[in-house]
């Protein structure tokens, strides 16, 4: 089942009084943040991270790319954490730097080229091998590959789906809550809730 929703739904709602001022500020800021110059990662690391994020959460042809890696750099620059980490993992910043090195090592071992030079399909093979703990490379002798992959993936999808444009993609308009929701049961939609435009297969 593929479900598609019209574009612009969240952006339209953000101009109305169906969202609270606090909600509007948080989302408009996210929408309008310009691309980031990395301050935690080196330029090379950051380019690699962006390429990896593009495979994890592919974006297709959007008018406005969602800056997934930017949020990771921003968090690590501020030394923020999400409150926990696996005891078998080094600190988040070290894990990212090591893991990126490991991704390139695995790409070299599998395809004799850096990750950035590979086709999308080859890049996916590298990432899949890391997720399954089958990737070659010295880094994975010390850094648990599956945990690294899980943490990276979780953060990438959280950054992606926090963005208003990604929320439009999945038909989420929960932010438009000032009038209260009256129709909350199955198949009960309010006027402001987007209808799926095309369901195929």
């Amino acid at each position: 089942m593929t479900i598609k929703y019209p574009v612009g739904t969240v952006r339209d709602l953000l101009t109305t009084d169906l969202v609270t001022e606090a909600t509007r500020q948080a989302l408009v800021k996210r929408l309008n943040t310009p691309p980031r110059q990395p301050t935690f990662f080196s330029t090379d690391e950051f380019t690699l991270l962006q390429a990896v994020c593009d495979r994890l959460v592919p974006q297709g042809e959007t008018d406005q790319p969602i800056p997934v890696a930017d949020g990771i750099d921003e968090r690590l620059s501020g030394s923020e954490t999400n409150g926990w980490r696996y005891d078998t993992m080094p600190t988040d910043g070290d894990a990212y730097k090591l893991g990126l090195k490991g991704i390139d090592e695995s790409a070299q071992a599998l395809f004799q080229q850096p990750f950035l030079s590979l086709t999308g399909g080859e890049q996916d093979q590298v990432l899949k091998a890391i997720q399954l703990m089958e990737a070659p490379g010295e880094t994975w002798q010390t850094l648990p590959a599956d945990r690294f992959f899980e943490e990276l993936l979780a953060e990438a999808v959280e950054n992606y789906y926090s963005h208003p444009i990604a929320q439009e993609e999945i038909g989420y308009v929960g932010m438009a809550d000032t009038p209260t929701w009256k129709r909350v049961g199955l198949d009960q939609l309010e006027d402001r809730e987007p209808r799926a435009v095309q369901i195929n297969e």
Partner: protein
């Protein structure tokens, strides 16, 4: 009116969550001079609680903890909160009562621990808390002992996930009921606060409620406590408890705006939650003659089963915690200790997709496709008893936090009983979803709610505090939070924590007033 730090106040309460706030209100009402020290901020819900998951991650305890064992516990969003109101700022507000036999696990099963009090000693506190918070619930709740009074308000509207759980359960003969939930189904007058509005069905309870319809402590027991003269000091992180020559605690040391402050006091009530309460005691080498501080970490088996449905569900609408079943409280075919309850769950998109990433390892087009079904997903989860084990504990690690204090390391591995319970529940929930017409069903294994580390009991060799929450070692130190539970119970913990907090306050007042 603020107290001076040089003044000798009757009591310092550390932490303002489910365990701290009710007790604070009770002590203040009795006329005691009380000061609450809270590590987190004092929020203004209208301004500070946007309907946005990322913007509300500030409500979680985001100081890093190290998670070890076979089933490492996630903290942050999954387990703990901060701010005036503690974890109740972002709890889902399900408020089931424990059942009497939950408190007798050892008697009934020969393993685990009994509570040093029985159900009758907390029943009237349950009743009091439910009425004060304005809990919404059904006229006739099908499980457990009959209640003295009906719930304060009628049930909340049932959202899509709830309707589907009702539908599936009915087909296979499992009884369900609208859940008791501490969100208001209608406006409610509350002592110390005034009128609180009814729930707007905005489905956002796992973060802060911006209208005060959800009974978090910041809109219930905290204002009541302030009304009776308590002082709340936010952004005060307690680091030390200082003992005097007589062995009692005479001063509480805390950090505020980078400055060290000290508050003199007669009694201390430690209500910092399972991990931070034990951490403070271990850091200060206090109240641990039993060697039990930090031991017996428990966490409810919290398996979730998700499915996709043809119907439009829109999981962002309606109270996330709508439907409950306690039919598995003592399931006839159980091969595990205790029991579990079933609850329908609504979910916000970032939480949902992030669980798909961790739980199913989905990425690329597979992830995008599964995420595009968001408006058609519904979940059920369990919360079940968990035994205390020697292999589950917390310790201070060598790694330091930003204050230079050791980070806690928490070991957790489910035992055989928890594994069997999860397997049983997996089958039951899949049956419900299949009867309801679900497709693409998947399981997200997890444990929710940390419990234990400072258990209560009758024996000072095996427990940290007595049945009144009083330390066996330090007579003017009390503990009131999730840490004192001797067993995990087969229900969400907050209501029981609040009921116990009031009992602890009353027992203390009886003894010392």
């Amino acid at each position: 009116m603020p107290y001076k730090t040089s003044e000798l106040v009757d009591a310092v309460v550390i932490g303002t969550g489910a365990g701290g706030a009710p007790l604070l209100a009770r002590l203040a009402k009795a006329g005691l001079s009380v000061v609450a020290l809270e590590a987190g901020k004092n929020w203004n819900p209208m301004q500070d609680f946007p309907t946005d998951e990322k913007a509300q991650s500030k409500l979680f305890w985001n100081d890093e903890r190290l998670s070890a064992g076979n089933d490492p516990l996630p903290f942050g969003s999954n387990n703990s909160g901060t701010g005036v109101g503690g974890s109740t700022l972002h709890y889902t507000a399900y408020t089931p009562r424990a059942q009497p036999d939950d408190l007798r696990i050892r008697t009934d099963f020969g393993v685990g621990e009994d509570w040093p009090i029985d159900f009758d000693q907390i029943a009237h506190y349950y009743d009091e808390v439910e009425q004060f918070l304005g809990v919404s619930g059904p006229a006739n709740y099908p499980w457990g002992p009959a209640r003295k009074r009906a719930y304060a308000l009628g049930p909340l509207p049932i959202n899509g996930a709830g309707q589907l759980m009702e539908r599936g359960s009915k087909k296979i003969g499992i009884k369900t009921s609208p859940a008791a939930n501490a969100a208001l189904s209608a406006g409610y007058y509350q002592e110390g606060v005034g009128h609180r509005p009814g729930c707007a069905n905005r489905g956002f309870c796992q973060a802060g409620c911006n209208i005060g319809a959800k009974a978090s402590m910041d809109v219930t027991y905290i204002p009541l406590a302030v009304h009776y003269g308590a002082e709340i000091r936010p952004e005060c992180f307690v680091t030390q408890l200082i003992k005097d020559a007589s062995g009692k605690i005479s001063e509480v040391v805390y950090m505020h705006n980078g400055q060290e402050e000290r508050q003199r006091c007669r009694f201390v009530f430690l209500c910092a939650g399972t991990i931070e309460t034990a951490r403070l005691l271990l850091l200060n080498d206090l109240a641990n003659s039993s060697g039990q501080v930090g031991r017996n970490v428990m966490a409810h088996p919290g398996l979730q089963i998700w499915g996709e449905f043809d119907e439009d569900i829109r999981p962002y609408k309606g109270i996330p915690g709508a439907i409950i079943s306690e039919d598995m409280h003592r399931a006839a075919d159980a091969d595990f200790v205790g029991g579990y309850l079933l609850q329908s769950i609504g979910v916000m998109p970032v939480t949902y997709v992030s669980q798909m990433a961790r739980g199913r390892g989905l990425w690329g087009q597979d992830l995008k496709q599964a995420a595009s079904a968001y408006n058609h997903v519904a979940g059920i989860n369990i919360l079940g008893d968990c035994l205390p084990y020697a292999h589950n504990y917390m310790e201070l690690s060598d790694e330091k936090d930003i204050r230079g204090l050791p980070k806690p390391r928490v070991y957790f591995s489910n035992g055989e009983s928890e594994e069997r319970m999860n397997a049983h529940a997996n089958k039951v929930m899949r049956e419900i979803w299949s009867a309801a017409g679900a497709k693409n069903v998947w399981a997200f294994p997890r444990n929710a709610h940390v419990i234990g580390t400072c258990r209560m009991g009758n024996d000072s060799n095996t427990a940290v505090v007595n049945a009144d929450g009083q330390s066996f070692d330090i007579p003017n130190l009390y503990i009131s939070d999730n840490s004192t539970f001797p067993s995990a119970l087969s229900v969400n913990p907050a209501l029981t924590i609040m009921a116990l907090a009031l009992r602890t306050a009353d027992r203390f007042l009886d003894a010392y007033k």
